[in-house]
């Protein structure tokens, strides 16, 4: 069963130099109780995808959104997050669908204590009175294993460390028992020993509540150990999607292959001298204002052929639960058929 099904999602922004397609024709699904990771580099559209789903894009950006995002709520009802009236979206957001961000310092309100911030959400969505909301806020801080939780309730975000702030963010997100948690680079600003704690906490909460997680990240190490399914994005489009193990074992798209090959940890084989050079993807991502006519990765791809410059390849099913957007993959499929 799927918790969320995103179909042909596109988001574009108006800029002084013209319209920019930040996200184009993105489709993927998140299974109930599972984690889907969106990986990509700067400008791949991974964060815009999550903000579009939450309908949190700034209005000033003159955004244009199309596509569907079917969310299956707790009652089993099927809702299109992109078409829902704002009032219903507001009831859903922070309730059944919650989000955590990279930098908890900028997403927490600096003038309210952490207890007040968690309690506010509980009063709003669960209709608790002040005393009950405060008691529940304490329970949430304990749930996220906040050290000295009772004392932290009355502290302000600036008094907490980065790891503790992210725990507060997670407590806030968990307060209304979400069925879908969108986590946008939740551990990127943290040290590795703290990152390990937060990732473990997220796994524990997922196991206890059965929530689904959409994990947006650029960190392939985190993806390898904390995702069930992976969606790889490049220049606003999904280039490949697959369950985590097959993706790392046999990436289908040349971009995924190259991305994994560039990692320094993959370059060393124990007992052998390190290679003189790392694999590197040449060049850089094309400007979104002047995208290549065909496949966006073509200018950097070692396997590109003339046909790659002609049209944008389709995202094709290559085998069960796997998709890739590459004409070489498409050609191989036709040959096999």
């Amino acid at each position: 069963m799927n918790r969320l099904e995103v179909r042909h999602l596109s988001t574009s922004f108006a800029t002084d130099e013209g319209r920019v397609d930040a996200v184009a024709d993105v489709s993927f699904a998140i299974r109930a109780g599972q984690t889907t990771a969106i990986v990509g580099e700067s400008g791949s559209g991974k964060s815009v995808t999550s903000l579009t789903l939450m309908r949190l894009l700034p209005r000033t950006a003159a955004t244009r959104v199309s596509g569907e995002a079917w969310f299956f709520d707790r009652a089993g009802e099927r809702l299109d997050l992109l078409a829902l009236p704002e009032s219903r979206m507001r009831a859903l957001r922070g309730n059944q669908v919650a989000m955590i961000f990279q930098e908890p310092m900028t997403s927490l309100n600096p003038v309210f204590s952490v207890g007040e911030q968690i309690a506010e959400s509980l009063r709003l969505h669960k209709g608790l009175d002040r005393a009950a909301a405060r008691a529940e806020a304490l329970r949430m801080l304990e749930l996220v294993e906040m050290p000295a939780a009772a004392q932290r309730l009355d502290e302000y975000p600036h008094q907490l460390s980065g790891g503790m702030r992210q725990r507060v963010m997670i407590a806030l997100a968990m307060a209304c028992d979400p069925t879908l948690l969108i986590a946008d680079e939740p551990t990127t600003a943290l040290d590795v020993t703290i990152q390990a704690q937060i990732l473990k906490l997220m796994r524990k909460l997922q196991a206890e509540t059965g929530m689904s997680i959409l994990f947006v990240t650029h960190n392939l190490g985190v993806v390898a150990h904390h995702a069930d399914d992976v969606v790889v994005m490049y220049a606003g489009r999904v280039v490949e999607s697959a369950p985590v193990r097959p993706l790392f074992a046999a990436p289908a798209h040349p971009y995924t292959q190259s991305l994994l090959a560039c990692l320094p940890s993959k370059a060393r084989v124990p007992g052998q001298p390190r290679p003189a050079r790392l694999f590197a993807i040449r060049g850089q991502v094309a400007s979104p204002l002047a995208p290549p006519p065909g496949c966006a990765f073509e200018p950097r791809c070692d396997r590109a052929i003339a046909a790659c410059r002609e049209t944008i390849p389709q995202l094709l099913v290559t085998e069960e639960a796997r998709q890739a957007r590459c004409i070489r993959v498409a050609a191989a499929l036709t040959e096999a058929a």
Binding site: E41, V192, I194, G221, P264, R268
Partner: protein, 324 residues
């Protein structure tokens, strides 16, 4: 062994009030041989960036010495220090903040040459600027552009060119890759490795990314709250970390391979504030092996096998094989 190119002895850097100092760097010693790349790893507050800056005397040390070819750079007159600066350079983390946005790339590089009186005359300097840009994989005509016209990876190449402009022997690379995407990171890693080879550079490579350190460095110094926990050859360190902190740090870094065992949380709690560092061993508050004696005194950095130094009083733990 011949005199190391750089030697740091008992380096201390305290910030703030003298009665309640923040001990950012507290009694750190290490040496870097000619042509060697030494990695400096640690989490926030470990003092790694402060060490990098103090080694170059961009920040004055509170105590201790930094020797360059045996000469104490803290004792040098400002004139001699200025001349020495061309031998010792730094590459900064953020290629967006470290280039003057109002200067063309050519002018940024030209300034470095002019300051040190290298390649006198406009023509020779312009030729050298073009050479430098080509050295880092850019083109001569890029000299007339401004920093905002370049991507992050290209800016970091310019940062590298600026550091190399004055033909240094020694470079402090302070997290030069952390602002870059993975696909661009490997380009810059290759560039650094290639230039190091061609120009026989000695490097102090500061990073929190253990995979990059493992790939690029010959030896590694592991820091925690301003103190050295362990020093080892790279291969030995990654094969068998000895200090409990090094073990925890390695265990916490997820490998990009789902078939490998997942990371485990070896450390509870937060890194203490450097304003209130624990007594004795600074790591003891998070160490799974801490005993009462750890609070008593600061453990000495001892050579446990040739070239391998560990600061931990629990010798039986240090020699216990890392649990699989």
């Amino acid at each position: 062994m011949s005199t190391p190119l750089i030697e740091v002895r008992g380096l201390k850097k305290y910030f703030g009030r003298s009665d309640r100092p923040v001990r950012a760097v507290d009694d750190v010693s290490f040496a870097i041989a000619h042509g060697e790349t030494l990695g400096l790893v640690g989490e926030s507050g470990s003092g790694k960036s402060t060490i990098g800056r103090t080694v170059l005397r961009l920040v004055e040390a509170t105590a201790g010495q930094v020797l360059y070819r045996g000469d104490d750079i803290g004792e040098l007159s400002s004139e001699r220090l200025r001349r020495l600066r061309s031998r010792l350079q730094i590459i900064f983390q953020d290629p967006y903040a470290s280039l003057n946005p109002k200067m063309r790339i050519g002018a940024i590089l030209d300034e470095a040459l002019a300051t040190h009186g290298l390649h006198p005359g406009k023509g020779p300097r312009a030729r050298r600027v073009a050479e430098l840009l080509e050295l880092v994989g850019l083109r001569g005509e890029h000299a007339s552009r401004f920093p905002h016209e370049f991507s992050g990876g290209q800016r970091q190449r310019i940062g590298v060119a600026r550091a190399l402009a004055v033909e240094p022997e020694f470079i402090v690379a302070d997290e030069p890759l952390s602002a870059l995407d993975v696909s661009i990171q490997s380009q810059v890693i290759n560039l650094l490795a290639e230039l190091r080879e061609r120009l026989s550079l000695t490097m102090l490579f500061i990073s929190h990314d253990l995979d990059v350190v493992e790939y690029l460095c010959d030896r590694v110094v592991v820091l925690y709250l301003g103190k050295v926990m362990e020093v080892a050859e790279t291969d030995a360190l990654f094969e068998q970390p000895l200090h409990p902190y090094t073990r925890a740090l390695l265990a916490a870094s997820p490998k990009p391979d789902p078939t490998q065992p997942s990371t485990h949380v070896a450390l509870q709690g937060d890194i203490p504030s450097p304003m209130a560092a624990p007594s004795g061993c600074v790591f003891r508050t998070r160490c799974p092996h801490a005993v009462d004696a750890c609070a008593g005194h600061v453990p000495a950095l001892e050579e446990v096998e040739p070239g391998r130094w560990v600061a931990c009083i629990r010798k039986e733990i240090v020699w216990m094989k890392a649990a699989a």
